[in-house]
Point group: none
Chain length 229, copies 4
């Protein structure tokens, strides 16, 4: 029916807008992009954009959700289906993520953008909805993977699984955002390929999850410092 055509058209326009917006967000930064830019890029008027989204943040949130959905989907296929010991599966979780980011740098870029925005503008409630929804069952699956690794002896047991979980997730986020922010700039800074460096960082981090042979080297006494303020 005609109705179906309408719906299809709307969906096409929505996608068009999202694509244009993502491109712009990544190149110029969410905050630097105006609704006008998006309108121009999609050859629509500003007013029309508002027929589809009620503001820029909603657009950004939508794009982020799509990206996050991709991640979960990829994990489902390439990580959680993989049989191996705990450490190997954990490695897969981390490495596969960065593998894909090297292929799709825009995802890291968008994540960096969105996380920054989240830390500023989004209400905690709105952010939580987006982030939690985007993670779906990942946290649970990863937690079980970690517990399994501690049982099968491939992961160190001296750290609480919940802490390990939070560590992995924050490491991933932190380094992904760094990757996104650096973009192609890192070569200029370090004279090394960005991919090389981040692969090694992952490797170092992951090796730290293995059972540590000797009791951990005694940490040097901590520096005591006053606040700078």
């Amino acid at each position: 029916m005609a109705n179906g055509a309408y719906v299809a058209h709307r969906e096409n326009q929505r996608e068009l807008i999202l694509e244009v917006a993502e491109e712009l967000f990544i190149n110029k930064g969410i905050e630097q992009v105006t609704i006008g830019d998006i309108a121009e890029g999609s050859r629509l008027t500003r007013a029309t954009i508002y027929k589809y989204f009620s503001n820029k943040e909603e657009i950004a949130g939508e794009i982020y959700k799509n990206v996050a959905k991709l991640w979960v989907e990829r994990d489902r296929q390439d990580v959680w289906g993989f049989a191996g010991n705990g450490w190997e599966r954990l490695e897969r979780f981390v490495v596969t993520h960065f593998d894909n980011l090297f292929l799709n740098p825009h995802e890291a870029r968008m994540s960096a953008e969105f996380n920054y925005m989240y830390s500023k503008k989004l209400s905690v409630a709105a952010a939580k909805e987006i982030f939690l929804e985007s993670l779906e069952g990942e946290r649970q699956r990863l937690l079980e993977c970690i517990k399994g690794g501690q049982e099968d002896g491939s992961l160190r047991e001296d750290i609480d699984p919940d802490v390990l979980l939070a560590s992995v997730l924050n490491f991933n986020s932190g380094m992904m955002n760094r990757l996104g922010e650096l973009g192609d700039k890192v070569e200029g800074e370090y004279g090394l390929g960005v991919e090389t460096i981040f692969r090694q960082i992952c490797r170092l981090f992951l090796d730290g999850f293995k059972p540590q042979a000797s009791p951990r080297a005694k940490a040097a006494p901590r520096a005591k410092r006053a606040s700078s303020k």
Copy 2:
């Protein structure tokens, strides 16, 4: 003479502006702060601010340089003066930095803000000037520390020292910025103290620098994925 008074006055005003701006940048985010806000906070007019700085980015750069200078100074006192094997000194380098960040969260905040801005607005040249200048001799000192560690057997030798160096610096930056962006939000998300988590992340990362007992576990074959675009 009168001239001296003028110079002193100018210096005072400059500092006042920088202090007010830092406070605002940290609380509201650089992009959300207007010159008007800074003017109001320092009880000057917008026009007067322009007598001291030519725009907001310059102010931010100045503040960042000051913070970075602090870091270098602290390292000089608490890290490079410390005698120990390579791994221990490296650990100090990383842990001391985060110790101080927990005491001075605004530094992490400012770093996150500035790095984000750098990835967007700053010309590569301007950014390079700021970042390189701020690092001064740190890179060199850290590189020597790493090489020493590989010689004294406390650091793994299967990774090039330059790569290890870049790894440490990028890890530090990435996790610091993540820390800055999260602020106090992480507790709500993970139910764990932010400090606990980040200390463990550092520990895991640093343990990965130790010589690895067994030849590195054979990585699972990498997933092959097409670009999402």
Copy 3:
């Protein structure tokens, strides 16, 4: 036949739109109501509204005409059929009108709205058409009532009947609009019920129509004032 159904349907829709619009005009003020509001209220789309009326003013005019028709109809029943002397019939004309307004405050509201709009947006021609059409034979009937009153001695004779007529009509309009604008606010302002006050105003005004016992008190010499501009 089908044609009849169409016509009936159109008529129903028209009425629906008018009802919704009146409700909105009264509550929010004509200028604050958008075509979109009316569309939403009548569960139609904006585009559909345009199939029935060419703009908001036309809708408002239609509603006003309906209200005015009511007034004429009521007068026909309750005023002009009443036998009494001139003053008594005049009183009826005024008092009945306000009696009804107290029962139907939305009519006063709508009148106030419409008069205000008339003074601004409506072309003089369009306004004349609406106002004159709405008055139909009222002016004539009232004029005869006044002349009758002057003959039967119940109305003062020192003022020209045409002037008395214009006085009554303008008084009615002015106080009705004031009533409409005040709504229920007057109580807060004066601590008196709005109905009480307006009834007394009518009474004072009407008593002024009686033959004045003494020659009118000599007015104090008029103040001479320059324009404020």
Copy 4:
């Protein structure tokens, strides 16, 4: 000092803006006037207008306050200084007001505009502040005049002084606003000069305040009507 020049300049600009705005408000209606219109009229930019007033309503309020201040001032000179019996002073109060309005029609126009706006947009609190402030001691002075009139026998005693007071004030407002809305249109409608008509309305109303010779004519029995809704 230069400071004085600044202050004087500001004051001039303020007045310029107010004058332009009043002219526009009167001709086009407050709601039809945009800040852009005012800016254009005063040969400033929109942004500059915002340096002087924070929005259109504030401008309108200011103009209304000025007009109301004029009224109070005129009353002080021409009404309250006048010695006469209660009815004569009351007459002065009403007639002087309209005398001045005929000379300065823009005042009636502005009052009509403002009252309409008050009934819609202004918060009751904001409106009260403006209206009460503008009336200053007028209410009290008029009340005493009325009580005096009842004592000296020039005013009817069968109506409570407070009610008489509210009657006069509402009559004045209502008819003034009607006058403002009609502008010069009334001639076209009634073939009579607007001034003539309104003078007679005042006269009729004021004559109603005199002690009524006979017991008030028994009102015809009131029409009983159902609500139109």
